[in-house]
């Protein structure tokens, strides 16, 4: 779907929410097809294609009188939901059966949407050939026929003024057809490869499994060891062993898996070995909602591990940044010999959209290790706290790493003076790490009174909501490095008369961190923790309510808000 729309020259966005089941349940995928770039989830549904009787109930809060339900009569006629919606019957299953089986219904729907939105049938056919070309000529032919049948229905519907009084006027831009179409998890995987990652261990856990799975299809191409290990404890300790031996190691997990890795995280710190940890968040505690989204593990990543040690936490704000930050994470981990977190979430991982440019050709893999000599000491005390890293088997030196407090040679010690020097050594790295922090991005008016603060994957949703809200006195400060915070943070925070934090967790974890770093409390929190991502409309409403809760900041008129919002797609 998204590929065809993109190929036809439309901007595309898609995200999915699904149940933690092998089959069935109520799941949905939302697409935005637009003449403008679209990077955020909206509630509003223009066209709904239910595939099960419970479909309408599942999206009941997203239905409006302008929603057009297209599909089987049985899925909407008896439902108590969606009575306010327009309906258009298309017996997808009957059509598909005539073509060879209900399995073709999906392609009929895709064909219909292409016809309806004016995409090119040729583009769809090319993609169908790519996807089904090796499945035998009968299957390929049936899919082509299914697409064509759907396309014809869509074309007719496009000009049916009774059902669609408002003309669909999407502008095709041929430039878009050669855009990249990337999901969050592909962006992370590609970024890791571009960052020189060559050792990835994991234990399957939603939503983080897609990345190592992708690697496993490209392991020999990129000299990678990809290992599904017996448990997350082993995952972490293998990554440590690989890193000790000079590999560029990564683990990919979610909160529960990471919980098992925490003992190992402390060892990463103790032996000062580089490691990238991808922590794809999902609702917790415990098993929580395995296939849903949350930003609830910031404090976990921040405080995990016994003892005090430096770390970096990146939280990519877009799919492009997920690529670049992952790439960079490997260089930074190598440079400072520390754990670097990529804190993502199910929403980012499962979201896709088209990206016009990805400047990757100048990216370099920076390796920070040396060839050792016989006098080599792994933990040499240095001014910046970084001891040149040797690799076993590279040079004549001996590489000794110890989980115990150790001296410069890596030998176990209980000497108070050495202990203090060693702790000071690795804490000294924190200063340089902070100097290289990514500054938060400020969007909106420079002389703001109200500052909306967000972090990670919510960036495009908050941006679009604020654009719709259109208030000149609000600016948006977004963080994709959440620890340590860039030194400019305090200045941005101090300028604000009121601060609103927006987070997908129940306690406002980032707001607490901001206070810790800037001594300033947020004035209002917009928190969501139902397992589903924020929508643009929801945030428009909630930000307005938050603003109106400050008496002196109240909106003068309510008209600045565009009710249906999100025009152009």
């Amino acid at each position: 779907m998204t590929k065809t729309m993109k190929k036809s020259g439309y901007h595309v966005f898609s995200t999915k929410e699904y149940m933690s089941r092998v089959r069935g349940g109520e799941n949905s995928t939302s697409f935005r097809i637009s003449s403008k770039p679209v990077h955020a989830y909206v509630d509003r549904i223009d066209f709904l294609f239910p595939f099960i009787a419970k479909g309408l109930e599942h999206v009941q809060n997203r239905l409006t009188p302008s929603t057009l339900i297209i599909g089987e009569k049985e899925y909407y006629e008896k439902s108590e939901y969606g009575q306010q919606c327009k309906r258009f019957e298309v017996p997808f299953q009957t059509i598909a059966k005539e073509l060879g089986g209900t399995i073709y219904s999906n392609i009929v729907v895709v064909g219909l949407l292409c016809g309806l939105l004016g995409a090119n049938l040729d583009d769809l056919n090319i993609l169908i050939k790519g996807a089904f070309g090796d499945k035998g000529s009968a299957i390929l032919e049936n899919n082509i026929k299914a697409a064509s049948k759907g396309y014809t229905i869509g074309m007719e519907l496009r000009t049916n003024v009774e059902v669609l009084p408002q003309k669909i006027s999407l502008i095709q831009d041929k430039d878009i057809s050669s855009d990249y179409l990337l999901s969050g998890d592909r962006a992370i995987a590609l970024g890791a490869i571009a960052g020189g990652c060559n050792y990835c261990t994991f234990y399957p856990m939603s939503p983080a499994t897609g990345i190592p799975t992708f690697f496993s299809h490209h392991d020999l191409e990129f000299s990678m060891v990809v290992d599904q290990s017996e448990d997350e404890i082993s995952v972490m300790n293998k990554a440590i062993g690989a890193s000790y031996a000079g590999a560029r190691a990564m683990v990919s997990t979610s909160g529960g898996g990471f919980a098992l890795m925490i003992e190992g995280l402390s060892l990463v710190a103790a032996i000062e070995t580089p490691l990238v940890i991808h922590l794809g968040q999902r609702p917790a505690p415990a098993t929580g909602m395995p296939t849903h989204t949350e930003q609830g593990d910031l404090e976990l990543a921040l405080y995990a591990g016994h003892g005090a040690f430096p770390r970096i936490i990146y939280a990519p704000e877009t799919i492009e940044e997920a690529f670049f930050l992952t790439q960079m994470a490997f260089n930074i981990a190598d440079k400072f010999q520390i754990p670097v977190f990529l804190l993502t979430d199910q929403y980012l991982i499962d979201t896709s959209y088209n990206i016009h440019a990805l400047e990757y050709t100048n990216l370099t893999v920076e390796k920070h290790f040396i060839k050792t000599d016989t006098k080599y000491q792994r933990y040499k005390i240095t001014e910046d706290g970084i001891s040149p890293r040797g690799i076993p088997g590279f040079g004549t030196g001996i590489i000794r790493s110890d989980s115990h407090t150790h001296d410069e040679s890596g030998m176990i010690t209980e000497n108070a003076v050495i202990r203090t020097k060693m702790v000071d050594k690795f804490l000294r790295k924190a200063e340089a790490i902070k100097r290289e922090a990514i500054p938060p991005t400020l969007s909106g008016s420079e002389d703001y009174k109200i500052l909306v603060v967000g972090w990670g994957s919510t960036y495009p949703i908050i941006s679009e909501a604020l654009e719709l809200l259109g208030r000149k006195d609000i600016a948006f400060l977004h963080f994709q490095q959440v620890y340590p915070l860039h030194s400019s943070t305090t200045r941005f925070i101090q300028q604000a008369q009121k601060i609103i934090s927006i987070e997908q967790n129940p306690t406002g974890q980032f707001g607490k961190l901001l206070k810790l770093e800037t001594s300033r409390d947020v004035d209002a929190k917009i928190l969501k923790y139902d397992g589903y991502c924020f929508s643009v409309e929801e945030l428009v409403e909630k930000i307005r309510n938050a603003v109106n809760s400050f008496p002196e900041m109240k909106e003068k008129t309510q008209e600045s808000f565009i009710g249906s919002g999100c025009d152009g797609d």
């Binding site: 571009a194 050792y199 293998k238 031996a245 790493s401 110890d402 989980s403 030998m411």
Partner: protein, 284 residues
């Protein structure tokens, strides 16, 4: 004998500890096989045995309790030209690291896994270990151990480990020969090394082991899994020597295919920019 692996270091073990002859055996076995400290890594966990590489001139990672097999597997997979020895005690291997032990056997990495088995926790001062005999009285297990002892060799044989041996370190001469066989063996090699704790185990002492062990003779066929299993289940008198060999298994490093035609370790490899570009461009 002086070896390249000698290190001038004060040793922290109790006088008479089984770790002393074990240290001597490992240093001599490595030296006699022409291995170098630069190309050998010893990965250990926590416990007195785990301190072994502290007293050697050798690359080492002394990590967390129970996790040493994970380091060893990953080091070997990152650089197959290194000789990788995973060494720790019975508590570290069979208790805290039990799951890693089972799965290390399944991976069949080309590493040597030496388990100093003294049937007691030494470092934490005398509690029962997973290999303590039934009835063994400690300050904690003060009415005697009631759990079934963990039989490392039997479990390894049941899982089809590629090399399973038992040594008693009271005999350094024969132990060294078995160590050398294990080092030369391609694939995962377990040595359950009976290595008395002279401070906290007053039952399973040097004389006790001398009395309760015997060497398997040439009539034993180590390729016969059922016979090996029978031997490993003997507990009245413990058989020493190579109990089992399953030499035709592919190693983990072979299975990952990465080193099939090129032995370059991961740290010396770099991303193929053309392939990367091709991959990224395929998303257009």
């Amino acid at each position: 004998m002086a070896t390249k692996f000698d290190k001038d270091e004060e040793i922290h073990w109790c006088p008479g500890c089984g770790n002393y002859p074990s240290l001597k055996v490992i240093k001599e076995a490595l030296t006699e096989l022409w291995l170098t400290p630069q190309n050998t890594v010893i990965a250990t966990g926590i416990g007195q045995a785990a301190k072994t590489p502290h007293f050697m001139n050798v690359n080492m990672i002394n990590g967390l309790h129970g996790r040493y097999l994970s380091y060893a597997i990953a080091i070997k997979a990152s650089n197959p030209s290194l000789t990788v020895i995973a060494l720790s005690g019975d508590g570290c291997t069979y208790s805290e690291g039990g799951n890693h032990f089972l799965h290390a056997i399944r991976y069949n990495p080309h590493i040597i896994n030496i388990v100093h088995n003294n049937q007691v926790f030494g470092l934490t001062k005398g509690q029962a270990s997973p290999t303590s005999q039934r009835g063994f009285v400690t300050d904690v297990q003060n009415r005697g151990v009631y759990n079934e002892p963990f039989n490392g060799p039997a479990i390894a044989i049941a899982l089809g480990a590629s090399f399973v041996a038992r040594t008693f370190i009271g005999d350094t001469v024969q132990s060294k020969e078995i160590y050398k066989k294990a080092i030369q063996h391609k694939g995962y090699a377990l040595i359950d090394n009976l290595c008395p704790c002279v401070t906290f185990n007053r039952v399973n002492t040097f004389p006790w082991f001398k009395q309760h062990t015997y060497y398997v003779d040439e009539t034993h066929d180590p390729l016969n899994q059922a016979e090996a299993m029978k031997l490993s289940l003997q507990t009245d008198k413990l058989p020493l020597g190579v109990l089992y060999m399953n030499p035709n298994k592919a190693t983990y490093e072979e299975n990952i295919k990465l080193y099939e035609s090129d032995n370059t370790p991961l740290f010396q490899r770099s991303v193929d920019k053309a392939k990367l570009s091709e991959l990224i461009e395929s998303f257009r």
